[in-house]
Symmetry: C2
Subunit: 236 residues, 2 copies
Amino acid sequence: LRSSDVARLAGVSVRTLRHYHQIGLLPEPDRSSNGYRAYTAADLVRVLRVRRLADLGMPLSRIDPAVDTKDELALLDREYVRQIEELQQRRTAIEALRQSTVRVDTPAFARKYITALDQRDGVTSQPVEAERDAAVLLELLLDSGSAARLTVLNEGEIAELADVSAALLALADDAPDPEIDAVAVALASALRRLRPVFSPLPLTREIAQSLEEHVYDQLSSAQRHALHRALRRLSR
Amino acid sequence: LRSSDVARLAGVSVRTLRHYHQIGLLPEPDRSSNGYRAYTAADLVRVLRVRRLADLGMPLSRIDPAVDTKDELALLDREYVRQIEELQQRRTAIEALRQSTVRVDTPAFARKYITALDQRDGVTSQPVEAERDAAVLLELLLDSGSAARLTVLNEGEIAELADVSAALLALADDAPDPEIDAVAVALASALRRLRPVFSPLPLTREIAQSLEEHVYDQLSSAQRHALHRALRRLSR
DNA sequence: TTGCTCCTCACGTCACGTGAGGTGGC
DNA sequence: TTGCTCCTCACGTCACGTGAGGTGGC
């Protein structure tokens, strides 16, 4: 039997046979006079045995053709139970992401808020992206307890928050000062209600500052003023 | 934010960040005066976005952080349906192998036969291995129709075949000629019944010969004589 | 001479892990 | 001076795929 015979009969590539030689799963056969490998039927049986286990997903390193392998099969079976569960969890997550109308990486607690914001007039998509970024960072930083509390904001509260954010993001740079002030007042009122949720962030000062800067960076000059005034009101 | 900050906050290794730089998923940030990378919160958001998709099993090559990826998610979902089915098929196959008392690579059609042979007295395990080898080769070579017919041999026929094989394999090299003859007669009778099953083998002459030699190689001198005489009887 | 089959390197794949050896600030 | 953190190569992983370049028999 030559390389191609064994390969064809066993349903593998010639390269696969070479690989099995390299890792010692299959002994090198004698050579015929022209240097071609001369396999025996015993080699073919061995390859078939290896493939039967490899096709079940057993790693080549754990295949020993000389030994019965029931224990290894039991291990594999438990591994498959785990994998099936994981795949099903992924499918559930994918389904949830596809259902939602917002971008797939929007944190769950902020979905309604971002959706509401997205539907306001006068807000272009770029600032919405900035809000999404902020939500992603928030999700990361909040301990799970706080995140849960954020989720239970009711529809009215979410709508109000979206109103306020939309007003902030719609502020033009040439907005008159009284308009900036009005936004700051509304913003302070909304933030006051949310403050207990954000308070105990597990952050070093440098990191907190870096994240804060990121939010400021996304805002225009007038918008920064409004946010700044709102924060001053809060600290009073 | 330094490498370790981003890595810790995003739940990845520093090496992973380097890898994302290499493949262009994450831009190289500016360096601070000491040469350390100075990441921004935007980089962190980006890593989180990549990980969210990568954790769902999306290949990095198909992740584009700038684009929404609902279509890709649909593809992934279909892929998972397929994978779950495959894993369940493997579990079924593993379960069947673990149920049986014979070695895991014994072909289904020969299980009862090998089991019966294994339980005969006077047959050591090495010739049983040879019979298993022959069965493996047979399974490979028979078209599925014939293999199905082999499976439906009834209990009595299997027991008779096992009796005859056991008698052949138990033949000592110094067995008297009449004993060899008796085995040959019984063997011929059993083979005559099986012959319709084996007849149309899709083999080149060289390969058939190679497989036949393999069977002969496993037999002792007296056993070969018995097989040879049985085959002569058949061809009459 | 032209195909065909076999041969031997040897690099590529995928998403990083894991040292190896060196530097800068406390 | 001693740790600690960062840096840059660069090889290893897993099971082969895929040329690259050469040889032998019809």
